[in-house]
């Protein structure tokens, strides 16, 4: 199996009822990469996937796979295979029949397809389960059957539509590793759709963050998390403390903004100018309690008051309030029983390089 690249050229989708689900989009997905599209429900992820798989024709633009334009080519003739949100396994067929279905449709002889199906079942660690019905498998096993079924037709591109969303947390985390592993083994291009940032971040080579039919940022996970390009990307991926104000001073590295809580500085990656309205984002885990000399390297400081403190296990959530503003801090549970009184005054702060300043729209 060999991955192929996928190119979207000005592709948009307008549904017959007039709703524009996908704005004109240019996007290149590299051959063999694990590419995720991350965005909230209804933002158009499935629509993009269905256009790539050929179930929908783009309203404008064109799609090419492996350099070959796909116009007028039906879903059953594209080098893609789709894994549906709900898997869409055939419940009345055995696992083996499911996996072999695409081969059956191609007219492969029974013995041959049985052999191939069994090969694929061992690839996804389901040896000996071929005679069961999908209903007799656990969620994770079903997941793997869906993958095997899709891989059976030797696609160059595998399209996965939130394939883990029906699973419970533990299993979901486990399956991430498995999927990633299969992708690595097969070299097939994976286009993976999710609204779960954890999934996108842990598995993907690159992520596209999508919002309201538009792709707002494309890049590796770390880039998206640490250097979000838009306010949406900043808040959709991970938690943020957001401070809003006006830029009072800016150079190519740093911006200083005037907020109701005082002047705060952060990285000015997007070249904001003095006078512009801006949001400054700091992640809860990048904020620190400025007690006992910990404060040394904190460029920004705030006086806050502890409202609540929740032990989550590996970390503590501190809910504070600075003036009118609620703040959240993540602090690792070091086991030293950080004993903080409710309503205690608690100076907090963050480093300039942990804060990002973005233009406030509208």
């Amino acid at each position: 199996m060999h991955g192929q690249d996928v190119t979207l050229n000005g592709v948009s989708m307008r549904y017959p009822n007039g709703f524009v689900a996908v704005e004109p989009t240019d996007l290149t997905i590299r051959a063999g990469e694990f590419f995720s599209i991350l965005g909230p429900s209804g933002c158009g992820k499935t629509t993009i996937l269905r256009m790539i798989s050929g179930f929908l024709d783009p309203t404008t633009g064109s799609i090419a796979i492996g350099g070959r334009p796909m116009d007028g080519i039906g879903p059953n003739q594209r080098p893609t295979a789709l894994i549906f949100q709900n898997l869409a396994l055939f419940p009345l067929m055995s696992v083996r029949e499911n996996v072999a279905f695409g081969l059956e449709a191609r007219g492969m002889a029974k013995a041959e397809r049985r052999r191939r199906a069994d090969d694929l079942l061992s690839l996804v660690a389901l040896e000996g389960q071929g005679d069961k019905k999908p209903g007799e498998l656990s969620g994770g096993q079903r997941q793997r059957v869906a993958v095997a079924r899709a891989l059976a037709v030797e696609p160059a591109v595998l399209l996965l539509d939130e394939p883990l969303s029906a699973l419970d947390l533990k299993l979901r985390q486990h399956m991430r590793a498995e999927l990633k592993d299969i992708q690595r083994k097969t070299g097939v291009t994976f286009i993976y759709i999710t609204h779960d940032q954890g999934e996108a971040l842990t598995m993907s080579d690159r992520i596209a963050v999508m919002n309201r039919g538009r792709i707002e940022q494309v890049g590796p996970g770390e880039e998206i998390y640490n250097a979000p390009a838009t306010a949406f990307a900043a808040t959709f991926v991970g938690e943020q403390n957001r401070f809003t104000g006006t830029v009072v001073d800016a150079d190519s590295e740093t911006a200083l903004i005037e907020t109701p809580l005082g002047r705060l500085s952060g990285l000015n990656r997007h070249g904001l100018k003095q006078g512009e309205n801006a949001h400054l984002f700091v992640r809860p885990e990048r904020m620190a309690v400025a007690l006992n000399g910990h404060a040394a390297d904190l460029d920004n400081r705030l006086d806050a008051r502890l409202e609540r403190r929740d032990l989550e296990g590996p970390f503590l959530n501190l809910f504070l309030r600075a003036g009118d503003m609620p703040l959240t801090l993540h602090v690792t549970n070091a086991g030293d029983g950080m004993t903080l009184e409710k309503d205690a005054a608690l100076p907090v702060g963050f480093r300039r390089k942990d804060a990002i300043v973005l233009r406030a729209e509208g």
Binding site: Y15, P16, G54, F55, L56, D57, G72, G74, P75
Partner: protein, 278 residues
């Protein structure tokens, strides 16, 4: 619909349409044929109801008339039959609904192998040919109680299977109800009767109304069972049947038009209402 009209009648909007999907075209053609086959006879029947030709015909037109409708209320057998039909329907509603409800409630609680047996027995009338139901009821009441076939036996025969329809509707509804609701009510200090009255019954109320409506329709239009169980009496439908055997009359078309009109109005209203709600 919008810019879709030229598209296929079947495939959902925005499905692939550029390449000619001719299995869809074939299906569309077939659908057209099917619905023509369904409706053409009915349309002919309606036309003939307004034709002055005393032999019902949509082709041999002898002028527009309403006389067949005017004759209806003056036809005593029809009117009396209608009255009998209504009486029977009322009887069926008041017997079938409580029985169906009781059956559904018991089956929803009964947790043993007896459940399937009871279920099978109670739904068996639905799977029994209507004439057999009519005949058994007629025999039973005559042999055991000396009650001869008539309106009463008809109610009994119809209720036997209509209650099963009601029961299935109630069971479907109850399946959507949470047992836990009843436990919650008990936990809040309510007595079982209070729970039934305040929680279970209101929950079932819409289904009871639907079931009453369906029972009414089923009863009014029943022929096979009634034919055997009605004895010397008659209902609107058995009267229509016996007239048809003697030959065609546009009065039957007139009744047909009324039935169709009511059906169409009810069905359309129902569709519009459910669509609005959705």
């Amino acid at each position: 619909m919008t810019d879709q009209t030229a598209g296929s009648l079947l495939s959902a909007p925005a499905r692939r349409q550029r390449s000619v999907d001719w299995s869809a075209a074939l299906l569309n053609g077939y659908l057209l044929f099917f619905f023509a086959w369904m409706f053409l006879p009915l349309i002919l029947m309606v036309l003939a109801a307004f034709n002055a030709n005393p032999t019902p015909s949509a082709t041999d037109w002898q002028g527009f008339t309403l006389q067949w409708f005017e004759k209806l209320p003056r036809d005593e057998r029809f009117m009396q039959g209608l009255f009998h039909s209504l009486l029977i329907a009322a009887g069926v509603i008041v017997t079938a609904i409580p029985m169906g409800l009781a059956g559904a409630l018991i089956l929803s609680r009964l947790q043993s192998r007896a459940n399937t047996l009871l279920y099978t027995l109670l739904v068996s009338p639905v799977l029994t040919p209507g004439i057999v139901l009519g005949a058994t009821t007629m025999i039973f009441w005559r042999d055991l109680f000396g009650v001869e076939a008539g309106l009463f036996t008809t109610v009994m025969a119809q209720a036997a299977f209509i209650a099963a329809y009601c029961m299935l509707m109630f069971m479907a509804r109850l399946q959507r109800q949470d047992h836990v609701l009843e436990e919650a009510a008990l936990d809040l200090g309510a007595s079982p009767f209070f729970v039934f009255r305040r929680v279970t019954l209101p929950f079932l109320m819409p289904t009871i109304l639907t079931a009453a409506f369906i029972s009414f329709l089923q009863s009014i239009e029943n022929y096979n069972t009634t034919f055997f169980a009605i004895g010397g009496s008659w209902t609107l439908v058995t009267e229509i049947g016996s007239r048809m055997r003697f030959g065609l009359s546009p009065m039957i078309n007139a009744i047909g038009v009324i039935f169709i009109a009511i059906t169409v109005v009810v069905a359309v209203t129902h569709t519009i209402m459910t669509r609005k709600r959705a």
